[in-house]
Every structure is written in C-alpha cells, then in structure tokens.
Symmetry: D3
C-alpha cells in the first residue's frame, strides 16, 4: 500500500498542503460545532481503536484523498491512512480507495468531513475525465473556469488536473481577460487592449472574449496572447480557428457539455473551458465502513 | 423595488449576515488574489459608475441574493442593489432578479463571486423545491443532510429553506444520531441509546438509524425521539411507519430522487432527507449585464 | 502516573482539543504580548531544564488539566506532563495534580496561563459538585446555562460535566427556548410555540419559560418538550411538577444556591439550572512550584 | 441621556474599542453558533422593532456598557443605545443603566452576550471598589494581577480602573517581575537582578518578590524599582516599609480580602495587589426587559 | 483639496483597499498592544478634537497616503483626511501632503503607524522614480522583484507603480520563472521548459534565467515568453539583445543601481528588475504636526 | 554544526517562536499565492531531495536564521537545517551560514521567503552593530524606535539585539513617552506629567521629550524616569547631560548617523535611539545555492 506521504499528487505539492489545511480545519469545526460530536463521545470510549475503509459507491476518478485524510489526522495524529487508489486514478464501484486505522473517535468524527471533500473533488475529476476522453485525438485541452465553489477553488482546480484537465487563470490577478462587460465600458476592443497592455506587467498574458468574427478580427489586429470564442457554433468556431491561423491561442466556451464537446474539439480550438466542471458536477459517492 | 434591508429572508436574520460576511470576504479574496483585478483596473477608471442587472439564464428558485450582494458592498459600500425577485421566489428564464448601480470597478470585480454564490444557492433551492412539489399533499417534509459543501453549510441550509425544505441537525453537536458505524462499535442498539441518554443534555434529541424491522423494534423499545429508516423499499417504509404508529418521528433516507420521492412520501414518513440537495444540485445559471 | 494522552476526559474528545487549542494559544499570546517574557528570558538560559509540580491550594474538583497542559506544550513540545489527579477527581489541599519536566523557560512562561485556566475550570467543577452532592437522592440533575464567560463556553461546559453536572443547550442554535422577552413580542404562548414548531427542524427540542401555573397550563396545551419554571417558590414548583405529571421535562431556575438547591430538588423537578456555576464560581487556587 | 459615543470611559479609548470588537464578535458567534437564534428567528418578524432597558438586579459599580453595546450594534447597526449610568458610576438595584431601541431580533439575539460581558465586568469593578473604599485615607492603591480570565484581560483591567483601582503590568512583556520560581533557577537575588538589568531596555521597570526581611535587604542592595512583599503579616509589612523607607515602591500581595485589606493598607505599603478581583469576583446581575 | 475617496490611485482599486485594511489593522494592534496608548489616553481628553498636517521632511514621490489614512479612520471613523499631494506625485521638502482633523486621540494614536507606512512606501516610490528617470528615452521599463518585505508585497508593488515602475509576477503562482536552482535539478534548460509547458495552464507565461549566451541560445530554441539575463555586463546584454532580436522579451537583472541602470538600459533590454527597490530603499521621512 | 534547536538566540525564546510562526506562514502564503509554485512543481519531482547552503553575499551580522528556517520547515517538516554562523555572529562575504537538506520542492519554494527575512533582519543587525562599534568606550547604548516595518516589529527588535543594541519600549502600551504633539494638547510639561502619573500603573516608566534646556528644566522639576533630548547639537546635549547630572536617564535622538553617533555618544548620554536602524537599513544580501 502507498503511504500518504508518497501519493503521486498531480499538480500537488507542499504549497497545496499549506492551502488545504485551513480548509479542512474549518470544515471540521463547521461540522463539530461548539458542542462536539455528541453521538461518538457518548458511545465510543476514548481509548477505543478501530479500522475502517473508504469505499467508492460508483466508478469514477479519485481526487482529494490527501486533503480528506487531513480530516482524520487533524483530529488525532495517530490515525494512519493507507491509500490504495491514488488521486487521478480510476476507481470502480465498491472498490476500496483507502484503509484507515487508529483511535475510533477520530475516525467517526472525521468521517463526514472527509467524505464530503472526497466526494466533491472526485465528482469534479470524474466530470473532467469524461470531457477529456471525449476530445481524445484532438488538440483540445479541457480547462476549468472561475465558476468554482467559494472557498474551494484551490482544491477544485487540483481535482480538474486529477481528471486530466488543465487550469485557466486562478483568479482576477492571474491574467487579463477582457470580457463583454469590460468592452461595454471601454468603448472598443482596441482601447481595452491598449489599456491592458499599459497596465499589466510583462509576465501577464492578455486574452479577449469575442462573440463573432468581426470582433475577432478587431482583436487580432492588436498584440494579444489568446482569444476566447464565446458561445459560437461549431461552424463559427472552425471559421475563427482558420482566421486565427495559429497566431494566438484559441479558447472555446459556452454550451460545453458531454453532448457537444467532441464537435467543438474537432473545430481545432486549442482550449475548451467548461464552468460545469466545478459548478454542476454531481458528487462521486463514497462511504466509510468500520471493519 | 425592494431595498436590500427589507428582503423577506426566510430563516434568515442578523445571525446569518454575521455568518455570511466572512464567507463572502474570503471568496472575494480568493478571486482577487494578491494582485488585484488586472483587467478591470486597467480598463475602467476609478471614478466610473455603471448600472447592471442580474438575469436568470434558467428558471428556478432564487436563493442567496443578500449574500451575493455582499460581494459588491464589501468592495465598495456605495454600490446600491435593488432586489426584484426575492429569495424563495420563483424566477423565470431571462427575468431580472436584481438591479445594481454604483462604482463600475466594484461591480465588475465582484461579479463572479456574487454569481458563484447566487447560482449555487439557487441551484440548491431549486432542487429542493422540485422535491417539495413532488411530495405535496403528503405529510412528508424534505430535509437536508450534513453532505454539504465544506465551508458553506450555513448558506446551503438557508437555501434549502428558501426552496421550501426544512433543516436536519446542523452538525455533530446538534443532536444525537446513532448510525451503523456507531452500532458497529457499541455492540447493540440498546447499549448505544443508553450511552447517548447518559451523555446528552436534556435539550438534545436522539435519533437512531435502522436498516430493517428487527432493528426498528429494538430501537422502539428504548426512549428515543426519531428513527432514520435507511435504504428501505417503499414497502418496508410503509411497514415501518405502521410499526412506529406515530409514537416517534420517522425519517426516510437513501435513494431519494425526483423519480422516487413521491412514492416514498406516500408511505407516510414524516421526513425525507436527501444528500443530493446539497452535494449534487446543478447550479442555476445567472449572468450580470452592464446596462 | 497517567500520560497526558490517556487522561479519562469526561465528555472530552478530539473535538474538545480542537476547540481548546486556539483558546490556549490566544491566552498565551495575551500574556506574553509582543515583547516576550522579559524576566524569564533574562534570567533563565535557553538550554536550562527544570522540573515542577502543580499543587492545589484548596480542595475541590479538578478540571482543565489537559487544556492547561497545552500552555506548556504549545510553547515547547519537549515539555512532558504527568497527570496524578485527573479531571473530574477530587483533590485535597496541598496535593500535587501534575508533574512537569522540560525546558525551564517554557515552564515559567506558561505557568500563569496554565494556572489561570486550571483554577477557573476547577472552580466551576467544584461549585457544580457542591450542588450535585446537595441534590443526591433526588431525580434532579444540575445543569449549566448560557451565563458563561465570553470565549470559554466550551471549556466551562466541560468543567460542569467534570463536576457531575449536565449541559443545557450550547447556545441559541441548540434548541428553542421561549423566554419572557419572546412572549412579550409574540402575543401569546400558543402563538410563540406555533411559530417555533413551524420554523425549527425535526431534531430541535422546544422549551417554554413560565412564571406561574396559568402560563404552565397554557404551555402544556401545546406540543413542547420541556418547561422552564422560572423563579417559583418550592411550593409552586411542587404544584407545577404535579400539573406536568411526567408528560414533559421540568426545569427549575432562579435563586438556585447551595442554601436552596436541596429544597428545590425535593419538589421533583427533573433539572435545576444555575447560572452561578459559571458566572460567579470562585477560582480553585493552584500554584506551580519548581522542584 | 448620554449617547454612546460620549461615554466618559475611564482608561478607555479608541484602542480599547479596537481590542473589544473581536472579543464581542467572538462571543456573539459562540452563542449564536452556526445555526442561528432559532427561537427569535421563528417568533419575531424581521422588520419588528422594540424598545428595552438594561436593569441592575443588585447595586454596585457599572463597567463594560460600551463593550456590551457592541453585542447589539455588531448584529444590526440600527440599534441605538442610550446610557443612563456610565462606566465607573454606582448603580442601585432595579435602576436602569441603558435604554435600547431598534430591530427586535438584534436586541433579543444580542441580549445574553451583552449581559454576560456587563455582569462580569461590573462584578470586577464592584469588587475593586469595595477594596478601594476600605483603604480610603491610606496611601495604598488597589491593583490587579495577571490572574485574569483568559482572553478578557484587556477588558478586566479596564473594569478594575472603573472600580477605582490601578493596573499592574499587562503581561510578561510589560515589566520585569522576579518571582520565587525565577530565584529558584537564578541562584541568588543579586544574580537575577543583574541578568534582568543586562537584558531589559531602559524603559522597563524591575520588581522583585521577597518573602522575608533578609531577602528584602538583599534586593534593596541592587538597583530596582519596586519590591513585592508576598504573604507577609501586617507586622512584617510594616517593618518592610520602614526598611525600604521610601527609596522604592512597595507592593503587598497574598491573602488580600475585604477582611484584611484595611490592616494591610495601614502598614504604609504603596500598592496592594489582589488576584481575587479578577479570578473570583461574583458577577453583578443585570437583566434586559422589553418595554 | 482632494477628498480621500477620489484620490487618483495609480494601479489601485477596491481590491487594494481590501488587501490594505488587514495590514493596517495589524500594524495598529502591533503598536497599541494590549495595554493601549498610555500617553495619549492619560493626557488627551476623549472628546478633544485637533487638526494636524503630514509634512514631508525630504523631497520624493508620495505613495501610500490612502493606506496610511486607514490608520486614523480604523481608530475613529470621524477623522477626516484631505490629501493635498496624491500618490504618485512629487513632494518637496516641508510641503504638506495631507491635512487631518478629528478626535485628537485617534490622530495621536494612529500617527506612528500612518507615518511608518507612508515613509516606507514613499521610499520605495522615490527609489523607483530615480531609476525610471535615469532610463528615460530608452525602451527599458523598471520592474520590481519578489525581494519585498514579508507581508507588505501588495503595498510595495503599488508603490513601485506610483514611482513609475511596473510589476513583475506577484509571486510563485503568477508565472513560470526557471532559475539556476531549478536548472540544477532539471538537468537541462530544454527539459525544464518542457516540464513547465506540460504543467502550466495556457494563461501562464514562461521565463528562463540565463547567465551566458550559450544558455540563451539553448533557451531560445524552446517556446518561451521571456528571458532573464542575469548578472551580465552591458556588452553581454547588448549581444544577448541582438541574439534575441525581438522574438521574446528580454529582462536584465543583477547589479542594478543608480550608477549602472542607464548603461544597462542602453543595451536595448525591455525590462530591468531591481530588488533594491523594495529591500533596500531608505524611507522617505514624514512627520505629523498638530496645528 | 549547531542543530536548530540549540541556536543561542540572543533575546530569543519560546515566545519569539510563537510570534514568528504566523509571520513566516503569512509570508509563505503571500509568495506562493493560491496557485502554488508553478515552476518548482512542474520541474522538480515530489520525491526529489536536495542539499543546499545559504551563503552571505556581503559581510555583516547574521540575524533571523531560526525565523528564516521556518520557511522551509512549515512547508515540509522533513527539511533539516544546520546553522554554521548563528544569529548575532559576524559573517564574511561568501561564507556559508546554514546548510539545508531535505525535499527539494520545499527548499526551492521556501527559498525567497527565507532569504527575504534573513536579508532584512541581518541588515538591521548589521546597521546596529556599526553604530554600536562607533560608540564603543562610551556609556551610550544604541536603541531602536517604533519606526519599524509594519508587522515585523517583534523580529526587527530581535535583530537590533543581535546587533548589540537594546530595545526601547515595544509600543504605545509599553511606557509613557510624552512627545511634542502631546505637549501641544496638554498645555504644559507639568500638566502632561501629572496626567501621566495619575493614569499609569506603578510599573510604567515615564519619559518626556524636550527640545531645549528650558523644557528640560521644567521636566526635571517633575518625577520622571527619563528624558528624550530631541534634535539637539552635541554641545546642547552635553549641557543637558550636565544639567541632569545622573538623576534620570538621558536619551538622544534625531540626526543619528554613522557620521554623528560617536560625537553624540561622547556627550555622556545614556541612550541613543535611531529610527534608521529599522526604517532605512539596507538588506544584507544572501543567496541559496543547490549543491
């Protein structure tokens, strides 16, 4: 079995652990409240130990096991977790993804927090993998958006990577993305890009959202790094890709579903971004069983 | 139009505002990062004002407008928000739920954080309302579970109420709920209940999860307040309800979907709890348009 | 001697440790300030070790030793504490409750914070035990109230349990308790209870405060779980208990002292709540001696 | 009536408000929990307003009204508080100390937090005033110690000032105080003082605790600012005061009660410190009445 | 005079205010400590008002006035500040940059915190402007580095912009910058770039640090966005610029001082980064005078 | 080599570690951002280990190595640091001050945060030592002021001690220091001192700032502990020292530089305070090299 420390975390590092710890701690405190785990403390003796396993109730892609494990170890660092199916790997229904042993109270008290994190992140990873598999053979990469759960963006982006996707900018400070509302205030695409270039540092990329070919041509006349083709039909996307002709990166967004993603990918866009990966992915069900 | 202060918040009060403020502040900081909103600050002058509206992109139940509004007012308290369709009310596709006016930067910078909150909470409220409507005419109440998004439980429970649902215990300290894993360690239902009663204060209710009639009878022999009938068929549920005969409250859980909930409700259970309300409800899409 | 990890914490668990850590850390920072322990750092070399004992200066019930121990281990995890008289046990004057060994600076710097916690919590436990002993032989349980020290409620409730008492609801979200000020705004007991039942989830108990038999009868006509008999004479309490006749739980409050508690208990009430346990219990004196 | 802003706070200033705000906010969150004020939110409409008064249930010295008021205004800044008897003034039983008006929910939800703070701090102020009155006519000042409630030191020291007392050093970084445990490790009084003088900055005072005249003479041979005469009889204190002869400040501690303080003061000591002011002062009872 | 709200903040926005508030609050608490401003509270009555001005003691570029103003308004929101010389403008010795009026205590207590921020940030802006002026007429931009004061990066980067400079990546998550230590572990420039491209999202720029022309050519063979020419002589820089020939952005770093920057700029590099802007800029002296 | 735990920290103790930890953690999070260390995580495998050394790029006094070491160990507690030249000791250019071994990612990700702290604090210590050396042979002590970096005062004061200096009061609550702005509001020196003595506790020293001999004589007529001789010429200082004649402590401030400090010291003042130690000391350059 793989000890926790050596889990092959995709895109994960010391810095992720630093970010995950306060999230998990806050989630534990949210669940335990001020009054403590009334049921467990009444029924389970403080010195009782137990063994348990975390079992998938559906098949999908695992993501978040190290973060979920913190729910137990923050309560009691004597809990030991052995990971059998690591983040980024596929799990089949009823398979065990981790085995847990240690003080019984910590296992029972941490159970729901751990499962809530694991189920949500694995849901994101599984939704991502479905799109990734559907665009296999094309040049398109599946990427996330800023439509993430408030407070969980760092973990959800990690889950997207576990599912084989890539990350868009983390937030508003990660890159310039000029959207329709900015254009409404800027007057013109040209003016907006000029302002962005005058303001942004030399390490900041600039992307512009366009809704039609006319806007695309206006944007292409300026020095930008990428173009976001929003809510275009596959035919429009294909024409836009031809127009761009490899000079800058092309991103498609809007209406991206499992039903449409393959056709979008075949238009030749470099990147397909899908908000649903993080705002509407159903959880992947896991349960914890005392053994 | 309704000024923000007077929104008829269902289940909402000063205490919810106290809880929501740090959540929204953290979400803003997560999106803005350390570097600030590079695009808006480059393109939009500091003294520019704007008007905008938040428009539903699908029909459903609104929830979270006051919390979402904080995303603007925490950035700049000169932003004014007028709510047209309040939390708990139904919105039709393309209807405007709120109008916003004030400094343009704050509106653009707060947009994504506000929409992320509003979309998620309205998704929860809408999913709840669908179940609530399906059980209309029965005695069953639709309630949430602890399968909530880490960090957002207080808001998601509020959204469930906006959708017409009711709340289960907030967390582990809200009531005793003896589940299968507790029983695995306690030895017997009787011993578990005895320990819980010896430990819990006089204002704490005790509920026991049972999986069959035998366990149900064992539980009914003890002084408890409610029984959780887990993963039973409608036939089993109906028999359990007869067995309980109104002495304590009955709760059904497991396999609750829009396809099954009506039949479950017709068994006569008092409460139906559904984790999917909070762990798998798809977001209700909203957008913000500068006008 | 008992190692810290195995202290038989009554009502205490991983969740209590999670709650106690920030309290003790904040107390240490409050005492140490920004400038550090000027005296110890000047006089005691960094590599000096020492042994010490914590001695009771009066007899009573011990509570808070694990929390107090954190004052040393948060400063230096090499400090070892051996508990001789555990939480919930009686200590006699001049007896040693714990032995400490490790870096001398951490022992001296943590001393006051540790003693402040231990003395206060043991004072609460001792005051509780005095009432508990006085009602021995009756059915009455001694319980706490929300009249606790701001910031220390979780620890003071634990101390009440160490003293043999029980806990009332933790706070405003733990149960419904309709008091006189609510009734002043609700119009009638009946209307207040109806509103509470329509609002509260199925796991929430409802208690109503009454001041006379007329109010009691009005309350008993509604479906509630408990009644708070406030500021009644023993004769009135006895009559109220007869009126209730075991249908719901009865709680007496108001004027509960060591002089009155036995007579109150003999009226047959189930629960006696006393704010003085937490707002006016004198500290139990302890000192730390370098040996 | 005195508006809140103009309360003549003794020893209080903008800096106290800065310190009190997080204490009161944390106390509110502790009481409200995650679930909100179930009773008030069920029974009292969001737009209901009310008037109330805070009434003393015993006579004593008021302290903490501005801090207590924050419990209401942090919940809803529309609550208005008019102070009738300000901090530091005497209140008689059944007198009104403040009148409150505004949204009813905020008044009811904040009630317990406000009263807990006000009762505790007024208890400290009242206990202080009793000692201060008992030493009237002597040179002795009554001062506090570091035996304060964890987390509330800044407020309790303020309450001591409201009661007519003075403040000892705030914490370990406020001055050097060489106590018995330091001497046990330092070898000699002389060595300890030398180390302290070599370490402490020029704005730091040095006090030494002595238990007998021999130690006193040893300390007086070194350049120190004050001497703590610990657990001495009045006769010993008087002799110590003669020995010091005004060269440095003298402080008496140990066994200071209302029964002994006058005799201690008559020995001529400059300062009498009493831990009981903060660790064992009974609360002064207040209640809030809706009018 | 310019009201605070309308100060033309260069690169500053609502998001900066959100970031600055906790920094200023923490700085105030650091200075005020637990015990409060002993001097001001003793000497100045609570209801005393005063007027003051902030005066430059040397000439330079102003930066940080809005942040510094928070030191007063966080203490008492009745303090009014009128800015006469705004951020980014030049101030001459003895000129008044701001006028302040309001409660005297808040002005005196906030003085040092305000001046510490203003002096440091204006020092950074002034040092930046000196370099910017020295490279006038060349294509070179002066940019900051990550060698900032721990905790103040967001403000120091703002000060660099006030001085006419530009910002490098905010931190490790803002862009890829492959430095010598990365190359030591990666084996080759090619392998490092390949790994970075496989890992980074499509909105992330990649820059590589090279120390000689050989490394430069190796880097230029890969698809990167910028090259950091580290510690090269002007002659080497000029040759590197010729080699790059405008294909990617060139950045010079190492040994950048007021004596060398002009010659470096004349080599034709696009960007010159200087750690000394933030780690070694002397403060620009300001004082506050009661008028 | 010296293991970290035994570094002879001058003026440093458990309490400093408690204060440094949140500073270093915040600095790490500031640098790593939400997105993580993109470069290191892409290029360096999670299980890669490395060895490195921290090398001085100029000679000076080391300060802050234990704090800087936290930047590595907070990321990964498997990083081991061996200190070769401890805080307070002199380092020559190109000498190694510490050796580091452990997971390569933590070393690379923590590098800049560690160096930023070490360089700044060593810069402060080195500037202090230069002044201390220049006043050798006189009675004058070099002390810091409150002109420190917001958020870093506790560490910068420690660095001053490492450089051989002493500490002034930590902040506004550490002592009374009556300055010109206080006098402007107090009316007279006499009134100001009287108010301070009436307000401050018995462990608080009182210092008065004077600008000429007339003010000095007025101050000397009152019972104070120290006098701050501000912006006086050496001749004035000498006369002031004669006037004081050892009755109280004398402090010189204003215009203290390496050029003037020796002459100031020869006037016989006890203490010389210099804001430039903390607001304008250039960083001492260090680098980290993978070996």
């Amino acid at each position: 079995m793989k000890p926790l420390r050596n889990v092959p975390l995709r895109g994960c590092a010391a810095s992720l652990e630093l970010a995950a710890e306060p999230i998990v701690r806050a989630a534990l405190l949210e669940d335990i409240g001020h009054g403590g785990d009334l049921t467990t403390e009444a029924i389970v003796a403080a010195d009782r130990t137990a063994a348990a396993r975390i079992v998938a109730r559906a098949s999908g892609i695992v993501a978040g096991l190290p973060a979920a494990s913190l729910a137990f170890t923050l309560l009691d660092d004597r809990v030991a977790i052995s990971i059998r199916i690591a983040d980024g790997e596929r799990v089949e229904r009823d398979a065990t993804v981790a085995e847990i042993a240690g003080p019984a109270r910590a296992i029972l008290t941490g159970e729901r927090t751990a499962l809530n994190l694991l189920s949500r992140l694995s849901g994101v990873a599984s939704a991502t993998r479905r799109l990734v598999d559907l665009v296999a053979g094309t040049r398109a990469q599946i990427v996330d958006t800023r439509k993430t759960t408030p407070g969980l963006r760092v973990l959800e982006r990690y889950a997207v990577v576990c599912g084989g996707g890539r990350n868009h900018r983390f937030g508003l400070d990660g890159a310039v993305l000029i959207k329709d509302n900015h254009l409404a205030l800027a007057g013109s695409i040209r003016a907006a890009i000029a302002a962005a270039r005058a303001h942004a540092g030399h390490m900041v990329k600039i992307e512009v959202e366009v809704e039609n070919l006319e806007q695309l041509r206006e944007a292409l006349a300026e020095p930008i790094d990428a173009v976001l083709l929003d809510n275009m039909t596959p035919a429009q996307l294909a024409e836009a890709v031809r127009e761009v002709n490899g000079r800058i990166l092309t991103e498609a967004s809007g209406g991206v579903t499992e039903a449409t993603v393959a056709e979008i990918a075949r238009t030749g866009v470099d990147v397909i971004s899908a908000g649903a990966l993080t705002h509407s992915a159903p959880a992947l069900d896991f349960s914890l069983e005392i053994v």
